[in-house]
Symmetry: C3
């Protein structure tokens, strides 16, 4: 019997992560029961149970309370029993205090991922995508700064891999490669050595 997989999928804004995950999940669902969860959404669901009304209120909570929410979300994800659970989240979030780790050791210990996948793309393509996606009010960054974000991502994902023991793959999602990239992710998560 194939093992259950719990894969954390990360990537900076503009790499096309969410669309890619949806596509990979469609492919995976033909063979094994697959669920996609967005970490931030699960956190907000937990926040609503505590009486919060919107995401702005969540962002204004104390660090301590936000951590509690993160822990609850991680715990809930761990309890999901599907064959494959794909967790859509961030390695870091840009804040006034600098880069905030989205996957601190504390959360990794709770979630115990079996796989880490980092989605990347050419920095110039990421810059173009961010420019055309004005609706989401993303920061417009130069290709050079985007390269730095990718560099930090690579460092963080390798570090997460050492902490968890899970393998990490870096999947390129350049323009016109979405199908191939989704197939790569599906292949990784269907892989089974038992």
């Amino acid at each position: 019997m194939a093992e259950n997989k719990r894969a954390i999928i990360v990537g900076i804004p503009g790499v096309g992560k969410t669309t890619l995950i949806t596509r990979a999940a469609e492919m995976l669902n033909q063979k094994r029961k697959t669920t996609v969860v967005i970490f931030g959404t699960i956190m907000f669901e937990e926040a609503k149970k505590m009486g919060l009304k919107n995401r702005d209120e969540m962002r204004k909570m104390s660090v301590e309370d936000q951590r509690r929410l993160q822990d609850l979300a991680a715990q809930r994800i761990t309890e999901m029993k599907d064959d494959i659970v794909m967790i859509d989240t961030h390695l870091f979030i840009n804040t006034d205090e600098g880069y905030y780790p989205g996957l601190p050791m504390r959360l990794l210990s709770i979630m115990k991922p079996t796989n880490m996948v980092m989605v990347a793309a050419d920095p110039r393509e990421i810059a173009e995508r961010r420019k055309s996606d004005q609706t989401r009010q993303r920061d417009i960054a130069s290709a050079e700064n985007i390269q730095k974000e990718l560099d930090i991502s690579r460092v963080m994902v390798a570090s997460c891999s050492i902490l968890t023991g899970a393998p990490f793959a870096i999947i390129m999602n350049n323009d016109g490669q979405m199908g191939e990239a989704a197939a790569n992710i599906a292949k990784i998560l269907l892989g089974d050595r038992s």
Copy 2:
């Protein structure tokens, strides 16, 4: 009420870390009670309690004894009750055995920093500053080697951030930017989301 902050400030020799911290502390002290501690100095104070006379004796201690001193220093820093404690230390120290980690997980677990700040600068400026600062017998390194030290620093600070859950900021302190850099650090440490 604003939370207390315990910020670890790191940077390779020649980035102007100590002067910058002093300046940032002056700014911060106008609003909240701020203390600066130099990790190595606290270690030496603990060593003196054990009867050591000078820093050379400390450097010649066994690894085991040095670790005990580090733990004691970290513990003492954790007990400081000021609104903001800035800890001036190193990510790594160049030794005959290679790069020695100045902030191993063991110490991070004791100190539980709320913030990590890495001070950086243009490698050529760092090289120039090291050349003119002969009194401190610093190693003269090429700009290329300094770039490598900065690269390793970035890796280590990201790794520390994942271990502690604390956000990390990289502050540039190029010639003529000291005021701006200090203001940036002050802004980070006054930031409060509660």
Copy 3:
């Protein structure tokens, strides 16, 4: 009395790690009792005790069983009482699931290395060596991809250093430098501050 050393030596295929370790061990054995162990070999010895016949069977075991084998191997290495134990292993292994960490935190906690040494070389030289070493069926990679492997290695070794508190050295082993590189490793492992 000099402390015992347990050094983890890592390096990507083609850096000449195994030959280099042998040479360094010869030098070290003139002064202190030194043993070299290959992590994968110790793992396979443990697998044979469980009835496995060959390494292919080992690779087909479930993740869970492989982890148990790794833990047993790490435990056995920790029990070795020689003055210097050099552990020949990998920071990561290329698999269908991506980069598999050869030194996850779990194993580092068991082995508690005193030193980390990463062997590196010029990417073009590594590419040439891989081409001429067809017998071992190594992947032929471009110098550019080899550079990426070296970059990931640097990140991982720094991360291991923070987790263990052990210093890490990066030793260059370019063509014609083997003697010097071996002497450097010997010097690091004879170093003693007690």
